[in-house]
Assembly symmetry: C2
Homo-oligomer: 285 residues x 2
Amino acid sequence: MPPSPVAGVSLETVSTAKAFGGTQGVYRHASAATGTAMTFAVYVPPHAPGARLPVVWFLSGLTCTHANVTDKGEYRRTCAELGLIFVAPDTSPRGEGVADAPAFDLGQGAGFYVDATEAPWAPHFAMWSYVTAELPGIVAANFPVDMARQGIMGHSMGGHGALTVGLRHPGRFRAVSAFAPIVAPSQVPWGEQAFTAYLGADRARWRAHDAVALIEDGARVPALLVDQGDADPWLETQLQPWRLADACAAAGIDLTLRKQPGYEHSYAFVSTFIDDQLRWHAARL
Amino acid sequence: MPPSPVAGVSLETVSTAKAFGGTQGVYRHASAATGTAMTFAVYVPPHAPGARLPVVWFLSGLTCTHANVTDKGEYRRTCAELGLIFVAPDTSPRGEGVADAPAFDLGQGAGFYVDATEAPWAPHFAMWSYVTAELPGIVAANFPVDMARQGIMGHSMGGHGALTVGLRHPGRFRAVSAFAPIVAPSQVPWGEQAFTAYLGADRARWRAHDAVALIEDGARVPALLVDQGDADPWLETQLQPWRLADACAAAGIDLTLRKQPGYEHSYAFVSTFIDDQLRWHAARL
């Protein structure tokens, strides 16, 4: 089931494998948004010929590529049962000629789902445009998706991505959830470092990429679901879910914030609860 | 829940993480069998204090460490539900001073679950003793296992390991199963290369490590379960499951050999069917 080139985009099939009755694929294409080759993964569950299926986007965290959740996320059984397409983009542009930093939390593997305006990042770090515009077009053109039924979830930095993308596209995503998200990047070291580098020192420009600030500024979604392990080493310093709880309470957003006792930050945590989050999405799709 | 040193073995906890209510751990110890440090993974499901749980061993395939099935096997949800401990050893000794070969299918990552008698392998390549004697003692001493209720499964080279270990220990393992196993290593290139190197040119000595030969020579188990993808690129040249079917038919062993249409050889295949194989084990444990 290799997708065919559509709309001027030549999609290279890196690999496909049958899994849980469907197809787990990995694809590569030349991205106009990032000016680099970009790789992403799509799981298509078993389905009737001609069917159009709801799609769940999964945005990954720091240091990850598409492969982390594809290898360790344990989403295929549930997606096969529920008939969900699952799309996993990369977290940044990559390669020679792309800016990078020695830190694991800046540069390649750490795109933070923004369009960088500052040097040296601006030429390639356009992950906001990539995940909100370019890749959706490619997915819509090449896979049996019903783009009227989309959900988005993410993990850590990707939880930040899912919340901000979801809050800024309330008509597009019927369900928004996250695992251990960075909810207020403007107020924690990971986000301050990344936003200063990518967006510059003017904090007013950060608010469009900060879930708590977006809610304070009027963004609304009907409901949010967040799972957070209470043994997560980043809980106090970088994640601070109480900031999201406070913002949602003030805004009247129905937030379900589940503290998961004993769980930390890895895919051992994500894989444990992704079945439940996918069911929450499917009920809304 | 770090296990404590027992019986002279100092067990180092490499990592633990809560997953599906239980604990996924990775441990390291100095092995007397191999003369090297050895790493293995154990998943302990949620359980009542003081309970002793049945244990399923998973032997991995060529190029793998404990990490492949631990990352990609998707066994934890089912083991948590069924109350199974899941043990994943490495596939060979490793490290400097350990013999190796440029080929992926010989040397480090390719121990073939035999005790090598030939140079340069004999000093360290003792995976038969390691998985049948040394590691069971360590697991019994350090985890809440009921060693009267053991099953064994494996993938590819590890399927060969599970079949041969199971056939030679019918009183120990109540359930034996495999994913895409090498069933007759003496008759296919992977096995011929490995057995010549590790056991020498005398083919009579290979029979104790060849599932089909063991059955021909009288080894018996009540039942075997094998899943085999029909899109597996190694099906015709290396795996040849019909040889096991013929041997079981002649011996009166109840073999369930399931051809899985469209599946190939990777963990996309293993993860799809491990839930079902674990249920088959649990029913016998």
